[in-house]
Symmetry: C2
Subunit: 198 residues, 2 copies
C-alpha cells in the first residue's frame, strides 16, 4: 500500500490488529502518529515499554499493579472486610469510580466459560478463597450479568456461602435513564425479582 514507506505499512498492520480497529481506521491513526511531533510519538513507545516492564499483578487481589501488593490493597482508608469480585481490571476501575464502594477488590481474570475451555482453575478463585477468613464480612460478586458471568457468580456463591460469609450479587434491573418500553424481558424479569419496598 505504502510502497515507499515500509515502516508506515508496518504501523498500519500493527494497529489494524487491535480490537475494533479496521484497516481504514488504522491508516488514519498511523497518519496521525506520523504527523505528531517526534517527542509525542516516541512517548508512546516509552509508555508501552514502561507498561510491559512495570505492570504485573498484585499477589493479593490479582489486579494489575506496578507494586505488590497494590495501592488498593494497602490503602488504610479502605474497608478490609468487604471484597468485591470482578472479572477484569477494567471492571474494578469502573466500580472504583463509584463513591458507594470503599472495600477491596478481587480480579478473577475472566469468567467460567466451558465452551472456551475456561474452568475454575483458569481463574483466580484459589487466590480468592485464600483471602477469606473470619475478618471478611461480605463478598460482593460483581461479574457481568451475562450467562457466563451469572454462572461464575453462582459457582462462587456455592463455594463461599458454606464458609459462613455473606455473599451478595450486584443488582440487575433497568439501567438509570432506560425506557421500560424498550427493555428486554430478561432484564424486566430481573427488575421485578429485585424490587425493593419503599
Amino acid at each position: 500500500m505504502f510502497n515507499s514507506a515500509e515502516s508506515v505499512e508496518r504501523l498500519v498492520n500493527w494497529l489494524a490488529r487491535l480490537p475494533g480497529i479496521g484497516r481504514k481506521t488504522a491508516t488514519r491513526l498511523a497518519f496521525h502518529i506520523l504527523k505528531l511531533p517526534a517527542e509525542e510519538a516516541l512517548e508512546l513507545a516509552d509508555i508501552i515499554r514502561d507498561v510491559k516492564e512495570k505492570v504485573s499483578f498484585c499477589s493479593v487481589c490479582c489486579n494489575i499493579s506496578e507494586t505488590d501488593p497494590c495501592h488498593t490493597c494497602t490503602d488504610p482508608k479502605r474497608r478490609k472486610d468487604i471484597i468485591c469480585v470482578v472479572e477484569e481490571p477494567m471492571d474494578a476501575a469502573a466500580l472504583d469510580k463509584v463513591d458507594e464502594f470503599n472495600g477491596l477488590f478481587h480480579v478473577l481474570g475472566g469468567r467460567l466459560s466451558p465452551l472456551d475451555g475456561i474452568g475454575p482453575d483458569d481463574l483466580k478463585i484459589k487466590e480468592l478463597l485464600a483471602r477469606l477468613n473470619d475478618k471478611i464480612s461480605e463478598v460482593i460478586i460483581a461479574t457481568n450479568p451475562q450467562v457466563e458471568g451469572e454462572a461464575t457468580a453462582t459457582y462462587l456463591a456455592r463455594l463461599i456461602k458454606p464458609m459462613g460469609i455473606k455473599v451478595t450479587r450486584i443488582a440487575r434491573g433497568l439501567p438509570v435513564g432506560a425506557d421500560l418500553e424498550y427493555a428486554d424481558s430478561v432484564t424486566l424479569t430481573r427488575a421485578l425479582e429485585g424490587r425493593q419496598e419503599f
Copy 2:
C-alpha cells in the same frame, strides 16, 4: 482511574488523544496491549521509533517515503508523463491500488483553506510547478470533491493550463452501488454535467 498502575493510566491518556478514540475505547485498547505478549507490544514501540526516524518526504512528489526520491518516482514501470495531484499521502495510496492509474503522484499536503489560514504557500504547489515541463502530457487533479478541494483544483488548473499542459479533474458523480433516490442534489448535478455518450 488505575491508581495501582500509573503507566496504564498514561497509556490510556495517550491513546485517548488519537482522533476518533474516546476514553472507553482507549481503555479497551490499553488492556488489549497489556495482555499482548511482551515482544508483540514492544514491536509497536520499535515501529513508532522507525516511523519517526526513517520516514520523511520525497523531494520530487512530496509523498511520505523512506528513500529520496521515493520508489514511486523512480519506478521504471510507471508512465512519467502523467502526474496525479492529491491532497494527502493516504489519497495517493488509495489511487495507487487502482490498476487504471500508472503515472506519478504529487502530494500537496492539504488543500487551500482560507478560513484555516492555509494559502498556496502552505501547500507543495511550487514543487508541483517545478516538475511541469514539455515531457508532461497530463495533470490529473484528484483533490477531494468538497468545497475546499474544488477551490484548490480550480486554482491549480488556472496555474497549469497556460503552460499548455492538459489538466483534468477526476469525475464527480454517483458512487458505484449508490441509490439515485438517496443521492444529494449537488452529486446529481455533477453526475448530469459529467454524463458521457455510450
